[in-house]
């Protein structure tokens, strides 16, 4: 499955109302560790159709970032049935991201 770019408009539908567990990656283009995690998150999207993978660009979606209390990027959130069930800060290898899920 492809990665979905989430913004304020589609957040409710794509994340909160998703029938699959959602992995949300808060990132920015100028953040090195975010760029290191990005291809790993892409890989998870390809390999795990049972998971919906979303990305939020914090430059464009400051409101969503502050809603989630993001103060450090990359920040990863796992959301199941509209609720945050797990979260982590910083670049993680794939096996550790999958463990979050």
């Amino acid at each position: 499955m492809s990665v979905i770019t989430v913004n304020k408009e589609n957040f409710q539908k794509e994340v909160i109302e998703s029938d699959r567990p959602v992995l949300v990656d808060f990132w920015a283009s100028w953040c090195g560790p975010c760029r290191m995690v990005s291809p790993i998150v892409d890989e998870i999207a390809e390999e795990h159709p049972e998971i919906k993978v979303c990305k939020v660009n914090v430059d464009e979606e400051a409101e969503l970032a502050s809603q989630f209390g993001v103060m450090s990027i990359p920040s990863l959130f796992v959301i199941k049935e509209g609720k945050v069930t797990n979260q982590s800060v910083g670049a993680l290898p794939k096996n550790q991201i999958l463990e979050l899920l």
């Binding site: 920015a28 953040c31 090195g32 290191m36 993001v70 103060m71 670049a91």
Partner: protein, 306 residues
């Protein structure tokens, strides 16, 4: 044996991929195992100005990818996975990853270093809630706020300067009476009106109510302690080598670095250490790539005599 390589390189930073380029050009089978993306610590610097050949500077992330591509052009394979265990003694060395076991006739350790933590209670819990280690990444979340930078070296000085442009106020806490940072940083820091220096002092506690609310600092000379209310703490007190995987198998010095001289040879035959993870006086990208070439030379010598 399946999954066996002439050379397994752990870590895909500049030292690792330079080793890979040289070993692959010498026609050895080479596997680089990297847990994230290539580039290592370089990826945190968007403008590298002391790597020769790039008069306008180069983005560390791009440079890392280019080094990977260069090595892969000569047949290097990359596995993106975390190494979770190693068995380095014996002629065939075993590397256990999250994605299976791999075997190397030789191993080059290029695991680099990570941010050093203060080691205070609650520090880990508050990462992402006011405790940060990358000013370039997280500075923007503190726009108009008050933050502390802890440390006195080049990276602390650079972080304080960067944050002074974003934040209302930056408090630089350093345990000595002068900064260790190069002189180039001193005058811009002195000129920045919103940078305050708290010298001869250490952070004794990070204060929080779910998120960081302040720090307690202790003056080492007077012994006096006081609280400073603030929104964020950027910790920039140097690096710690990534050697936890190798403890008990390989000789490591008191600071955690793998003991190896300019030949990059460790105490285990067929195992080499390159870049920031090795005992050495200067840790730069150029010295890391230098190690890579040297290691490849001694790997070749070692494999020829097997």
């Amino acid at each position: 044996m399946e999954n066996t390589y002439d050379v397994i390189i752990i870590g895909g930073g500049p030292a690792g991929y330079t080793s890979a380029i040289y070993c692959a050009r010498a026609l050895f089978s080479v596997l680089v195992i990297e847990k994230l993306s290539p580039g290592g610590q370089m990826t945190q610097t968007s403008q590298i100005e002391n790597y020769p050949g790039f008069e306008d500077g180069v983005d560390g992330f791009e440079l890392g990818f280019k080094m990977q591509k260069g090595a892969e052009k000569f047949g290097t394979k990359t596995l993106r996975s975390e190494v979770i265990g190693v068995e380095l003694n014996g002629e065939i060395k075993k590397i256990v990853t999250a994605d299976g076991e791999f075997f190397g006739k030789s191993v080059i350790i290029a695991t680099g270093a990570d941010h050093r933590h203060l080691g205070l209670p609650d520090e880990e819990k508050l990462i992402g809630r006011g405790v940060a280690y990358c000013a370039a990444c997280d500075g923007m979340f503190y726009r108009g706020k008050t933050v502390a930078v802890v440390g006195g070296g080049n990276s602390a000085a650079a972080d304080a300067l960067l944050l002074s442009k974003i934040c209302e106020k930056v408090i630089l806490v350093h345990r000595r009476d002068t900064l260790r940072a190069e002189r180039a940083y001193h005058s811009p820091l002195m000129k920045a009106e919103n940078v305050e220096f708290v010298l001869d002092s250490t952070v004794s506690e990070i204060l929080s109510e779910n998120i960081v609310t302040g720090i307690r600092v202790k003056n080492k000379v007077s012994g006096e302690e006081r609280e400073i209310p603030l929104n964020g703490v950027f910790i920039s007190i140097g690096r710690v080598p990534n050697t936890a995987l190798f403890k008990g198998q390989i000789d490591i010095d008191e600071y955690g670095y793998i003991i190896a001289d300019e030949t990059t040879k460790t105490n285990i035959s067929g195992v080499f250490a390159v870049g920031d993870v090795r005992t050495k006086p200067v840790r730069q990208i150029v010295t890391a790539v230098g190690d890579g070439a040297t290691a490849a030379h001694y790997v070749e010598e070692y494999l020829a005599n097997l």
